[in-house]
Amino acid sequence: MTSLSGALAAATITPPHIEYGQLSPLLVVFGAAVAGVLVEAFVPRERRRAFHLVIALGGLVAAFALIISVAATPSLFAHGSPGHVVAMGAVGVDGPTLFIQGTIVVLAFVSVLLIAESSHGVSPFAAQAAAVPGSAEEREGLLRGISHTEVYPLTLFAVGGMMLFPAANDLLTMFVALEVLSLPLYLLCGLARRRRLISQEAAMKYFLLGAFSSAFFLFGVAMLYGYSGSVSLSAIAAAAATNVSSATLLYAGIALVGIGLLFKIGAVPFQSWKPDVYQGAPTAVTALMASCTVVSAFGGLLRVFYVAFGQLTWDWRPAMWGVAILTMLAGAIIAITQTDVKRMLAYSSIAHGGFVLTAVVAATAAGLSASLFYLAVYGLTTIGAFAVVTLVRDPAGEANHLSKWAGLGKRSPWLAGVFAFFLLAFAGIPLTSGFAGKFAVFQAAAAGGALPLVIIGVLASAVAAFFYVRVIVLMFFSDPAPDGPTVVTPGLFTGAAVAVGAAATLVFGIAPEPLLALASHAAAHLFVR
């Protein structure tokens, strides 16, 4: 009864201490999102897009500047400290987190450029998402040339959630971040202007399965709380070290929390949502999910498994091995028979998730830094590839069926060449960033004693190279389809997204050293506890 009376004695509560400065990148992004909602409320429709662009892009730039200034604060890493725990233990600010947040902000910036593209006459987003597909209301909205500008605040909320997710130092904050990043994404998936039904189906599937996985995550949190009496990652680690209570609770908790995290990554066997959602969502949103969400989810996974379960490496490693192997092989093999370019990229993204998992398995600083590097360069290449996908169109919208891509190299050699370059990077051909990344993760895994995993990874990437090359052959060595799609001239924003992706892929392929050095510097002291 003492604890109950203690909770009721109001006088003992002291105000918590919040480090606003170190949280400022997050606060800026969330603030920009709230400002975006106000824009929706008070600015006339025709001027909203301009306001949103300034707020969203400005907010992301400001967040990036703040991340750099936080990272450059000497006191943060003084005396070899890995970083600080702020907001009463809810959020960790350390090297890997700042690196991941910086990556997310950069990737989000490029994604917002894609989302904002409307130079092909109209925005890629629906006029009235709530209208029944094919109904009169929908037609009316399309004719009036309007579209949902809520996408900008929604994107910013999602990005804010993504930044909080890998920083969360306790499982409840992490769960809140998971929901904050997921809910806007569910909505965004259903907002495609064309092919409304498939877009709504994607949103529905993502929502249902996402909710399902959230339930697993929460169940796991409950188990871990039952085991250790706390949701804080370091307290769980401490409890695991002293072995205080039933191990069954602990291991079931690890598995269930892991399921929630692996779902967001799209690791096999929790990958089933990915192809459908990637295909149905507006391509700009797919680009956001395939880059930022994956980075964020890996950030969370790395933190949980390195901090909370860091001493239990030998216990979770076999399961993670299995997941990594299945993910690499299934992603690479199933991608071969895909006929839709977005589905193919979805399976490719699954396979790449598997490659990063090999470095996660290593559970070393080298593994961490390799994962960070891989995520950054893979994200940039991915956005570039999806940006190219938005440019290949036929009268019904984007031409995503691969047969339509036949002979693209003859009609638009530059675009096809850039896409081929991205595909070669995915395949891991040297002098692209994909090679440096793949080498870094495999190297870390091999050094961590997972040579069989590396061999399977190399074989899987050989298989994966096959379907990437198949697309290149299709583009360059096949005759164009008679009713083939037209390639629209990229607008300023899409052009910028493609250019950023291609430049990053090339530069980090030839000289990966500066970014690698940054990643390994960020990962040197692992996560803060």
Partner: protein, 647 residues
């Protein structure tokens, strides 16, 4: 056994000095920069560079050649033990405790290759100016060719396996682009894809080898790996050797990964001459010789190498006998000749030098033969069927003369090049001793006879006899821009062998890197006498079959062995049965499982539970529930695994 064989070269290899390059050698990286700049200008410059593209395309490899010669001359100024120099460029990858510098190793082995690549490469570029003069895409062609030269130089000059791997993939990419250069031909597109896919198999072997090196030695530099190689144990050395052999097999078109090379002849002929005869396909030999300290440790790996070489040299020669397409006949011959090099490399220190020597002279005569074939094809309206040639000696005298010199060189008639480099390989194979030595030596010797047969056949069918031309063919001698490279190559084909091998010149030059072979036993030995007799026999049979008799314009029906050889000895059929079918089956199975398996499971389950499948079908509005079910199954498995690990 291993100890005695390995003793000498290991000392030589681990003594590889890592002296930093000084003076003029510090600019060796210019060799790479010139062709790379050429490729960038030509590929990114667009149509603006059409007018002068070919000039840039030829000038760049030639500039590299000049740099290579300067570097080589500077090297000759050092004593033999200090000739290996490292040119540091920049730090390429640094992850955690792992560090790779982008550096070049200029030593006797790599400079030999660099001279071959840039020298023969420049000549072939020059030839291509004439050969491709009517092609609207000539600029793009030179762009790819320069890209190839840069990548190939990176491959041979790299001072660590990772950088070599980058070059390895680069030449693969250039080869892929050039095989499919005439992309409007479906056969060219298919051939390009085949080359790429087959090479993935090899690359998988190579990259696993690099990972294994890293896991074992913690480094991938040559000095680091070779220095610790002896501490690794024989099992690791064997594994490394076999994995590297897999990579070499794919790149050098050795059995069982040979099938792509014949199809690769779809590319323009200068490509066949440079990439698929003189340089890129010999990268496998380079890889094995460069990795000598690893192969020296493992008898098993070396035995595998010799077997692959011996099988391929016969395999390629037999294919060469049956092909009517002049380029495919020469491609079979390339496979076969590389088989000799691989066989020699597998013999260890006794053969390394001969493998490289044969590689270099082969670069001369095979490039010359291909250019000759290209000249003929150019004048015969792109006809490649030798049954439609004949009597060209009269209208194309220079081409015929250079081709004849190439022919004498490849079949190994004294004093032409092939004699000086092929005979030591055959002799070294016999000198290996035991049954395996006798078998390998006999295979190599019989191969020499078959080589004489099919090369004589090519020569006779093309240049002598009656004119069996298509009615609209009006061949003339090709212009000087095409004949002059052929003449230079013919001079090389005639004299390079004698120059390199007489007085042990090349052996002494290269042995600090590869270890010295046992002293030779004079010029004419019983082995070389017997070989020469077989060569004469083969040539005479060919003359009896093709020189004296009329050659039908359509290929006559043939019985089993000829049919098999015409079909590349069923290489494709084997690939299809062993790799493609199971691969397709696996893919289909996983897709089936992904799409329907889980559903099927649910339906079956439902039916078993008691005829409720009807109700289940009615509530089935999509596939979400089966996705959720698959997640649930996965979750149960994951929880199960984690809890089981505990027990």
């Amino acid at each position: 056994m291993t100890g005695t064989l390995a003793g000498l070269p290991m000392r030589a290899a681990s003594a590889l000095p890592t002296l930093a390059a000084v003076g003029v050698q510090r600019t060796a990286w210019l060799m790479l920069v010139f062709p790379l700049a050429g490729a960038l200008v030509l590929l990114l410059g667009g149509r603006r560079t059409n007018r002068f593209g070919h000039v840039v395309g030829v000038a760049m490899p030639f500039a590299s050649f000049v740099v290579a010669v300067i570097t080589f001359v500077a090297m000759l100024g050092y004593p033999a033990s200090q000739r290996a120099r490292d040119v540091h460029m920049f730090t390429w990858i640094s992850v955690g405790g792992f560090h790779v510098d982008a550096g070049l190793l200029v030593d006797q082995l790599s400079i030999s290759f660099a001279l071959l690549i840039t020298g023969v490469g420049s000549l072939i570029h020059l030839f291509a100016v004439g050969y491709m003069s009517h092609d609207p895409d000539r600029r793009r062609f030179f762009g790819y060719m320069n890209l190839f030269v840069a990548a190939m130089l990176l491959l041979v000059l790299a001072d660590n396996y990772l950088l070599m791997y980058a070059g390895w993939e680069g030449v693969g990419l250039a080869s892929y682009l050039l095989i499919g250069f005439w992309q409007y031909k479906p056969s060219a597109a298919a051939a390009a894809k085949k080359a790429f896919v087959v090479n993935r198999v090899g690359v998988a072997g190579f990259s696993v080898a690099i990972m294994l090196m890293f896991a074992t030695f913690g480094t991938v530099t040559y000095t680091g790996v070779f220095g610790q190689a002896s501490s690794a144990g024989r099992g690791t050395a064997t594994a490394l050797g076999l994995l590297l052999l897999l990579g070499a097999c794919a790149k050098s078109a050795q059995v069982p990964l040979q099938s792509w090379l014949l199809d690769a002849m779809e590319g323009p002929t200068p490509v066949s001459a440079l990439i698929h005869a003189a340089t890129m396909v010999t990268a496998g030999v380079y890889l094995i010789v460069r990795s000598a300290p690893i192969f020296n440790l493992s008898m098993t790996a070396r035995l595998a190498v010799t077997v692959v070489g011996a099988v391929t040299l016969l395999f390629g020669a037999i294919i060469g006998c049956a092909k009517d397409d002049i380029k495919k006949a020469l491609a079979g011959s390339t496979m076969s000749q590389i088989g000799y090099m691989v066989l020699a490399a597998g013999l260890g220190p006794a053969g390394y030098v001969f493998a490289i020597a044969h590689l270099i002279v082969h670069g001369f005569f095979k490039a010359g033969l291909f250019l000759g074939a290209g000249a003929v094809k150019h004048e015969m309206n792109d006809e490649v069927d030798m049954r439609r040639f004949g009597g060209l000696r009269v209208v194309m005298p220079i081409t015929a003369a250079t081709f004849t010199i190439g022919w004498l060189a490849i079949i190994g008639v004294w004093p032409f090049s092939g004699f000086f480099t092929k005979d030591p390989i055959i002799a070294a194979a016999f000198a290996k001793g035991g049954i395996s030595g006798a078998l390998l030596g006999s295979a190599a010797m019989i191969g020499a006879g078959i080589t004489a047969f099919y090369m004589t056949r090519v020569l006779l069918m093309t240049f002598t006899g009656h004119r069996r031309w298509e009615p609209d063919a009006h061949p003339h001698e090709v212009p000087p821009v095409m004949t002059s490279p052929m003449i230079v190559l013919a001079i090389g084909a005639a004299g390079a062998g004698a120059f390199l091998m007489l007085g042990n010149r090349f052996v002494d030059f290269l042995s600090p890197v590869t270890g010295a072979p046992p002293a030779s036993r004079g010029l004419i030995t019983p082995v070389s006498g017997a070989t020469l007799a077989l060569v004469v026999l083969g040539a005479v049979i060919a003359w009896a079959m093709y020189g004296r008799r009329e050659i039908p314009v359509t290929a006559p029906a043939a019985r089993f062995p000829v049919v098999a050889a015409r079909k590349d000895l069923y290489g494709d059929a084997v690939n299809e049965a062993v790799f493609m079918r199971p691969g397709q089956w696996l893919t289909r199975l996983s897709v089936y499982f992904d799409n329907r398996g889980v559903d099927g499971l649910v339906n079956t389950l439902a039916a078993t539970v008691g005829g409720s499948s009807g109700r289940l079908r009615r509530v089935q509005t999509g596939f979400v529930r089966s996705y959720a079910l698959s997640m649930l199954v996965g979750a149960v498995l994951l929880v199960g695994v984690l809890l089981l690990v505990r027990i």
